[in-house]
Symmetry: none
């Protein structure tokens, strides 16, 4: 895949055209009942429907058949990186998500407060889901721990979750989780799978022992578990591969984080509604060639099982769409990072509808933008990793391959 990105990079030219990738998180859905509509099918979306006449529609596989993508793989795929070859560790994602300024050699760890009994056996892996304020207080205590060999950062996330970052020389990340994923047993010993990772493991063992001494007086969060020990994978940079000044306009830290990880500029703003988010794109229109625009709430309602809530968000996006259309992007892609059917209350493996609007598209018939029309669209069945390259092609940003 990196080789294919290399070819794309060699074919890419900067012709000044503008591309918008509008991602409604968890867009795809399934009907609640046989014969029924999906969320997108029931939503009133006159602007998107009208846009289909000058678009190419299709269905897109995010990772591989049967894979329900997490947010990391979903967005890596959207940006053109093979999510099977490039997995971002949970620690890095979590650190990126809170905006922690991770450096290339840093080791990031996702940590969970947990409850252990008198002999150290885990009795609650999430410490009763303590409120975030409690998390913050305990993290402040943990920030006092010093271990030689690395600078240590501890940052709260939400409820029982926090992030640990080690900064030092020669630290490896091949350190398995100490979370046994079971209750009634103690945490697993912390070990490194190679000499550099053993150095990391040694620091973590000392830190964890100190941490337990501090936490033991503060049940239910009287211990913690360490997971997803990882480093920035050092992915080739999006703006350089594709030769586009690239911006992310997202409201949630995680999506800003994954955009920064590939070298996009994550624009800081206070926008919340789709209309406000689109206005941010408008304000920065001249400064970038590529805009990744992320709408979160489609996924949130999907995960809550709130079918009508998800429909409502889609309609709000459609209502605001003229703000983007008035900017006259050369290519506008509308899709999701994965499906989150309200019926299933989770990310799913279903393919995701996609619409690519461009004057260079092979137009189909004017239809409603939804799964049914995308099934028979002129784009056919594609893969998420091909979405940005296809957007570049339609923006005439890729020259011929071979003589």
């Amino acid at each position: 895949m990196i080789d294919k990105l290399k070819l794309i990079n060699e074919m890419a030219v900067d012709n000044g055209s503008k591309i918008v990738l509008l991602v409604m998180d968890g867009l795809g859905g399934v009907p609640l009942e046989p014969g029924g509509p999906t969320e997108l099918e029931v939503a009133r979306t006159p602007n998107m429907d009208s846009l289909t006449s000058r678009s190419s529609l299709g269905m897109s596989e995010v990772v591989a058949p049967a894979f329900s993508p997490g947010s990391g793989p979903g967005h890596l795929a959207l940006f053109g990186y093979d999510p099977l070859e490039n997995l971002i560790g949970r620690g890095v994602l979590e650190a990126m998500g809170i905006g922690f300024p991770l450096q290339p050699q840093d080791i990031a760890i996702r940590a969970n407060f947990c409850t252990v009994d008198a002999v150290g056996n885990i009795i609650d892996r999430r410490a009763g889901r303590i409120p975030t304020e409690e998390c913050v207080k305990r993290v402040e205590l943990l920030q006092q721990i010093k271990i030689s060999g690395a600078e240590i950062f501890v940052e709260p996330v939400k409820e029982y979750r926090f992030v640990l970052v080690l900064r030092g020389d020669g630290l490896g990340s091949a350190v398995p989780d100490n979370d046994p994923q079971l209750i009634g047993v103690p945490a697993l010993p912390i070990r490194g799978d190679d000499s550099k990772s053993e150095k990391t493991a040694s620091i973590l063992r000392q830190w964890w022992a100190e941490g337990n001494k501090i936490l033991k007086d503060y049940p239910p969060a009287n211990s913690c578990l360490l997971r997803g020990v990882s480093k920035d994978p050092g992915l080739p940079r999006f703006p350089e591969i594709y030769k586009m000044r690239s911006a992310a306009v997202a409201t949630y830290p995680m999506y800003k984080g994954v955009s920064r990880l590939v070298g996009m500029q994550a624009i800081e703003h206070n926008a919340e509604t789709p209309a406000e988010v689109f206005k941010v794109v408008e304000e920065h229109w001249k400064d970038y060639d590529f805009f990744f625009v992320h709408i979160k709430k489609t996924d949130s309602y999907g995960e809550d099982g709130n079918f009508n809530g998800k429909v409502g968000v889609i309609e709000t996006v459609d209502l605001a769409l003229p703000i983007l259309l008035d900017l006259k992007p050369d290519v506008l892609v509308i899709t999701g990072d994965h499906a989150t059917p309200a019926k299933l209350k989770r990310h799913s493996w279903h393919q995701v509808p996609i619409m690519l609007a461009a004057d260079t598209a092979r137009f189909g018939k004017a239809v409603k933008f939804c799964e049914a029309s995308c099934d028979s669209g002129t784009l056919g069945r594609i893969h998420h990793v091909d979405i940005v390259p296809l957007a570049l092609a339609h923006a005439m940003r890729l020259v011929k391959y071979g003589a």
Copy 2:
């Protein structure tokens, strides 16, 4: 891919059946306006339309999503060779195109006469497109140059284009073009990227210096530019892989060249119109099992942006089609090597319509042969590398895979 070809080869049997692969160069198109037809959709093609009732239709990806194939990759894919793994240099393609008997160790270079000013800056990269007779005269002068270390062949092609071939021991082909692809600047220095290629570069530098001494008195072609330094990639031979006596019937040298490169017999003829070309197939019907038949002008009109001209060529092909149908090939495939939408005036990344007519096909409904019907055809979405294997399968030339 070579491994897949090996499997195909193991399954292939010669049962005496006949296959015709009819390629309309640049066949695929896009509508000029939303709701409008493509070139193929607007063309009156009663013979092809009637053939759909005993055909399987589909859309085919030539190289990969977003890739606009050059003629080389497009035809390699058509012949079943993965164009991402096998790239043919421009020099080799050009040499093959004029029927030069290239040997495995030869270094082939595509050369262009150009015009330079008094200080050597390029002012016309095509020397005013001098007529072919002028090209021939200058090439005769250049043929006199002798450089130690290689036997040197210089052959005219057409207008400002000629071919240079170096034959000698230990010559590498990693020599970048000296054509800066710009005017107002001098040719780039000729250099080799490794020691064998530096040997080639050294011979080329001496040859180029001598050539310029000769040419300086013959403006507008008073210098030349060297491009696409390359060797025969030594692809496995088409007739042996597929176990078919294989012929190419093409009017343009490039397509004869790429056919020869994979070991097909390029039939010499003076045919020009589709009917004349098809008559050549008829004349040689008994001598071969497989015919690659190439129609160039669909692409030429596409590149000129002449929508109606391209429609006209498609209609001429359709009108002549009974000549091929009367031969009763077991399998007739009609497709393109890439799309060349008149709207875009260039090779494009769009998938290409394909029709495979055979008694063994899973027939669909009788429809018009065009992109819209191919979108929902029984072949589905396929890849160009699979076209010849599918033709063999439909000709009952492939036995079962595994017990």
